[in-house]
Structures are given as structure tokens and as C-alpha cells.
Symmetry: C2
Subunit: 228 residues, 2 copies
């Protein structure tokens, strides 16, 4: 689960500035902090200051920074998938799941970039729905599990990369952008004749290949589906 200090909490005591701490409040404040001032603005000390409590008070709710990050990741995925119900069309349903995951990450790019590589309970819940969709498509249980894992791992990874790029400071994003362009301008047309033909068609860095990748995966899955 998200919280690693799972004891039932009674004995609430207001902080010095009158705030009643809670796991939810901490996670929400952390998300707000990250969203407003960037991912490096999240520190135990700053979070404590934003909450109006001593930094060490947070250790009553989370075992450490890692725990907090996991809770944040859980919250992001949970929000993104809230209210999702798979439909009759399994391909369309898988696509919607993928788009929801990405939307959730991009809604909190900097938080997602930090947390995306950790497996959490919420992420696992997604798996239950997804494997069911592939079973309904006629795949054998073993194949359904294997293929869905490949699908969702790819979606989560790709979405994480998108989020990580969005999370970079504008300066670095532009520098990375420039790096792409420079490569093509500096390359020798004799060595890479193919590239000169492509140059005008190169996609801008602003675009993401996420949807294209999802389409490719879904095409391959549909082609492999037994009943058609």
C-alpha cells in the first residue's frame, strides 16, 4: 500500500499552527508544492514548513522520503483511473486505459517523473482489469497475462518518459531540443544519405510518440487475437 505506517490513527493533535495533519493532507500538500515550485522543491523540511508543522512530524506518517514518494505515485494513478469502466471493445478499452495513465502522469509531470518507476498497489489494480480484457479477446490465460504485462509496462514506461521530459526545467528542455536538431545538421550527408531526405519531415520535440506507440501495440495485439 501507499502508507508504510498503517496503524489506525486516533489521538489527533493540532499542530502548533492549528493544522490537523493527515496522510491525505500531506500528500496533497506535497503535490501542490511540486506543482508550484518544481520537483526539487519537495523536501521534508519544506513540506513541513508548507504544512505548518515540524519536519520530523512527517515521520509519524511515512517511514521516509521513499514512502512519501510511493504515496504520491499511488495518488496520481488512483486519480487517473477513477471512474474507469472497461467497455465491450477490448482494444478501445485498452487504449483508454493507456491514455488515462498518460493523462494522469502529465497532470503532475514532476511528481510522476519522480515516482513513476516504483511499483505500487494502485498500478497492480490496473492489471486486474487489463488481463480481463485480453481474456475476453480470446487469449489463453498465460498469453493474456504475458501480453498484458508487456502492454502496460510499455505504457507506464513511455508515459513516465513523457512526464520526465515535461518535468525538466524549460532551459534544459530547450537544450535537449537543440541537441536533437544539431545532430541532423552536423551529420555528414555522405555517411547518412537517408537522413537528408527525412530532415524536413522530422517531428518537433514537442510532439510525443506515445499515441503512435500505443496504436502499434494494439495493432499487434489485435492481429494476434485468436477470435476475430
Amino acid at each position: 500500500m501507499s502508507t508504510r505506517v498503517p496503524q489506525e490513527r486516533r489521538r489527533r493533535r493540532p499542530t502548533r499552527s492549528g493544522v490537523l495533519l493527515s496522510e491525505d493532507l500531506i500528500v496533497e500538500t506535497a503535490l501542490r508544492l511540486i506543482g508550484e515550485h518544481g520537483p526539487e522543491a519537495l523536501s521534508v523540511r519544506r513540506l513541513g514548513a508548507a504544512l505548518g508543522c515540524d519536519p520530523s512530524a512527517l515521520y509519524r506518517y511515512f517511514h521516509g522520503t521513499d514512502d512519501l514518494v510511493l504515496a504520491i505515485a499511488d495518488r496520481i494513478i488512483g486519480d487517473a483511473m477513477a471512474g474507469f469502466v472497461p467497455g465491450a471493445d477490448w482494444v478501445a478499452s485498452l487504449r483508454e486505459m493507456a491514455l488515462r495513465v498518460r493523462a494522469g502522469y502529465l497532470a503532475h509531470p514532476r511528481a510522476a517523473a519522480m515516482a513513476a518507476h516504483r511499483v505500487t498497489g494502485r498500478k497492480s489494480e490496473i492489471q486486474a482489469v487489463g488481463i480481463g480484457l485480453l481474456l475476453s479477446a480470446g487469449f489463453e490465460p498465460a498469453a493474456a497475462a504475458r501480453l498484458y504485462l508487456a502492454f502496460i509496462d510499455t505504457v507506464l514506461s513511455h508515459a513516465a518518459t513523457d512526464a520526465a521530459f515535461q518535468a525538466l526545467p524549460l532551459q534544459q528542455r530547450q537544450a535537449d531540443h537543440r541537441a536533437w536538431r544539431n545532430v541532423y545538421q552536423d551529420l555528414d550527408p555522405v555517411v547518412y544519405p537517408a537522413l537528408t531526405a527525412v530532415r524536413p519531415a522530422l517531428p518537433g520535440m514537442a510532439d510525443s510518440s506515445f499515441e503512435e506507440a500505443v496504436d502499434l501495440l494494439l495493432e499487434a495485439l489485435a492481429a494476434r487475437a485468436p477470435t476475430r
Copy 2:
């Protein structure tokens, strides 16, 4: 490029302990440090100690930690792709590229996990070769660029996720592993009847879905290829 302090460097002066600093030596020492003692062992101070120089000396070669990380990422990708030449079979060539990228990341899991989300010059070099392969497959230039971007982005992202998981401390890896299993054990068979059928077929967390995902992508690309 990797180094953001690109001035030609003359005036070499041995350090107090007799070592001649260089960009390469620094990157190699950093990789060694990370490989031996984990990613959190990489700090300017420790790196200085390992090199036998004052920590601040490193700022003559890299503008800061971020620069250093970029240089490390560059080195990893460069090493992985060293000596690669695309063959006649474009599908096989793309697959080899994917496997090389992943192998490179897994060779330095902790370094890759830290650096994987940054775009670097080396990564761009890969693109030149890849787009050429898709052009040779008969794709239009615009489609070739778009599809290859989707392919390589996915491969890099997925490989980064794999590396990030390998980079986790054993304790956390096991905890994440347990989280997966628990979800299935705790789920209600009435709500998720599909899952109970799959349970014995669930893949272990040790396995990665990387190759399966690459196969799916390549299948979709082959199906879309004009000349076949």
C-alpha cells in the same frame, strides 16, 4: 554533447595525489563508484575522494551534477552501440538495436536509472541509423521518422524502467514483488473472476516484458511496411 565545459584543455596539472584528471577518467570513476556502491554513492565529494582530488576540481570539467549525469548517460549508450552495423534485414537490425540499448542500460543499472530520461547526443546518433532502416523498408520519409521515433522512444523508456527496477535496493525490489502478489491474493474472485483463472500463469517479477514488447512493435511495423 556530454561535456558542458567544452574548452580545449591544455595546462594539465597533476592532482595532489599525482593523478591526471580528465573527463574520461572522471566518468569512468563515477561508473565504477555507482557500480560498486550503488547510485546514492555518487556524490561530488565521494567522487573527488575516489579520484584523489578536491571535490571542487570536478567543476572545472562539468558545470554541475546534472552535466556529469548526462556525460554518464552518453557513455553508457555509446558503449552499448559501439561496433553496431545495420544488416540487410531491417526487422532484425531494429531488434538488435533494441537489445543493445537494453543491455547497455542493464550493464550499469543504477547509472542508467539515474540518467535514462535525459536526451543526449549519443541517443540522437542512434536515430540516424534507425530511420535509415525504416526507409529501406519502403516507408515514406515522414512515416519512417514518425514510426521510428515511436519505436525508439518506447525501447528507451522500457529499458530505463527495467534498469530502474534493477537499481532498486534488494529490499525494495522484494517489497515491490510482494505488492504484486498480494494484489492477486487479496482480490475478490467475484469481482475479478478472470484473474483467478490466470493466477497460476502469472509471470514472475524477475522476468521483464521487454522482449515481448519489442516483438509486438516489430510485428506492427512489419505489417504496416509497404513492400513485403
